[in-house]
Symmetry: C2
């Protein structure tokens, strides 16, 4: 960082190609400050952005944060949000390049913009690079990120670890053809990957890794949770079969399993089950706010 | 732009030093959607960010936009905001690199992050570079940006032209030592410049250019408007006397006058009048929301 917060703008030295993503998180939608401490909201706001840079197989470098804070108790809330952001930023060696804080009569809103750069010598991964024959893999396990309503602060959507290190390791050492992070659920985000790559992506129902956070239900219900709960923030990606086999056999990611869940075929750009059923988008919806 | 909106992140090719700023604008605070069309709110959200990059004497390149939209009529509001942003972006040859749109029960919030790069061969201008003896200059005229309450859409805080071209011209062709944009009013922002440069900055009350938008009042009242109304988004900057004289004599900026308003001296880092009175910060406060 050449010039940090305190001037009209920040200055940072980055590789010629700058990677940038923005996500805004809202009280009552993406978290509920009547249920959890604001540090968790700040942490999540940074984590979802780091997940976006991870999905590009790239390296996050710095963030800009803008806040809308309620008049009542806003200063305390703002400090807690920044504590949550600082702690996760430190963990991932990210700096805070700039910010803007505002007070209003509304609820808390947090917008985080993250800037990053490609891995040296490796192009950023996109959603559009999958090729016919590629295998489809996913990190971790899916579903149940909202957790138990009795312990809202323990829910995975608040304390997940963005797959930054894993994405860097994958893009650095292996041939990955496309990647996306699972923010809206596999049913929706898998559809994005199929559409952007212009391929039919066929998933096998029996191969989807269902998280232990999906505690109850029939196998069908548990699968539905894994497909549509959303906010897993795992990585969905494609690789040529021989590369995928190496990944699956060697399982190179520390503590994060890789699972083979399907394959890419020339055809309509849609997501299907192995029996030909189209998998409709569906998944994450705003949860904490009554309509 | 290498990769625009639609993937997990955008990719843009920028000079090695990336300049970045963020500002969040809120309905009821920075604009009032019960009074004005949302296109003007979008325009302002981009304009204030362009003003920040201008204050660095640098070149804006692209923006990321995150929106919180009310459930009622949110789609229309969002489209109008983006129309306002697109129109101003086109005028300044800025591209939209990414975005995030959300719906909630709250009022509209717009966060814009702008990325830019230094002028080729010229360092970015900061608030800290003024030197003893430098003259203090300002673009345009100050005060009255809130306009006439009968015509809220005509107010200058909504339709001002960010001084991007002027800042580029100044940093490209002249020796400017420090610069800031006047968002919070000369009294406040002049204090920032004095503090960051570590100098006493002495302004002459008789030299402050008061805008024709300050329509009424005694000379003292009109001066107070110019010092504290805020949201002028003019440039306050310093230059060595010989350089300042050239600028004042030649008036190189098309349609934007330059005015000499004071000088820098070694001493306490504060803003003062020529009679030694300290100019206290004071200025822009949230205007459209009842406490």
């Amino acid at each position: 960082m050449v010039l940090g917060p305190g001037d009209d703008a920040g200055i940072v030295r980055l590789a010629p190609e700058t990677i940038a993503a923005v996500d805004m998180l809202l009280d009552g939608v993406h978290f509920d400050l009547t249920q959890i401490d604001a540090t968790l909201a700040g942490r999540k706001a940074l984590a979802v952005n780091l997940s976006d840079i991870a999905a590009m197989g790239s390296v996050p470098v710095c963030v800009l944060v803008s806040l809308a804070l309620p008049k009542e108790n806003g200063l305390v809330t703002g400090k807690k949000i920044m504590e949550g952001i600082f702690a996760l930023a430190k963990e991932f060696h990210i700096t805070i390049l700039g910010g803007d804080t505002n007070s209003w009569s509304g609820r808390t809103a947090i917008s985080v913009t993250v800037l990053g750069e490609p891995l040296p010598g490796r192009a950023p991964l996109t959603r559009s690079g999958a090729r016919p024959g590629d295998w489809i893999l996913v990190t971790g396990a899916l579903g149940g990120s909202l957790g138990d309503s009795k312990n809202p602060a323990n829910a995975r959507h608040l304390n997940f670890t963005p797959r930054v290190r894993e994405a860097i390791q994958l893009n650095q050492k292996y041939e990955i053809t496309s990647m996306i992070d699972l923010s809206d659920g596999l049913a929706t985000d898998g559809g994005h990957l199929a559409r952007e790559s212009g391929l039919t992506m066929i998933l096998n129902q029996n191969w989807i890794p269902v998280s232990a956070d999906v505690s109850e239900g029939t196998p069908e219900e548990r699968l539905a949770h894994a497909m549509t709960d959303g906010e897993d923030f795992e990585l969905l990606f494609t690789a040529p079969p021989e590369m995928a086999r190496i990944l699956l056999d060697s399982q190179p990611l520390t503590r994060v399993p890789l699972t083979h869940i399907g394959e890419c075929h020339a055809g309509d750009p849609v997501l299907k089950w192995q029996d030909g059923t189209i998998i409709s988008p569906g998944g994450y919806e705003h949860r904490f706010e009554a309509d």
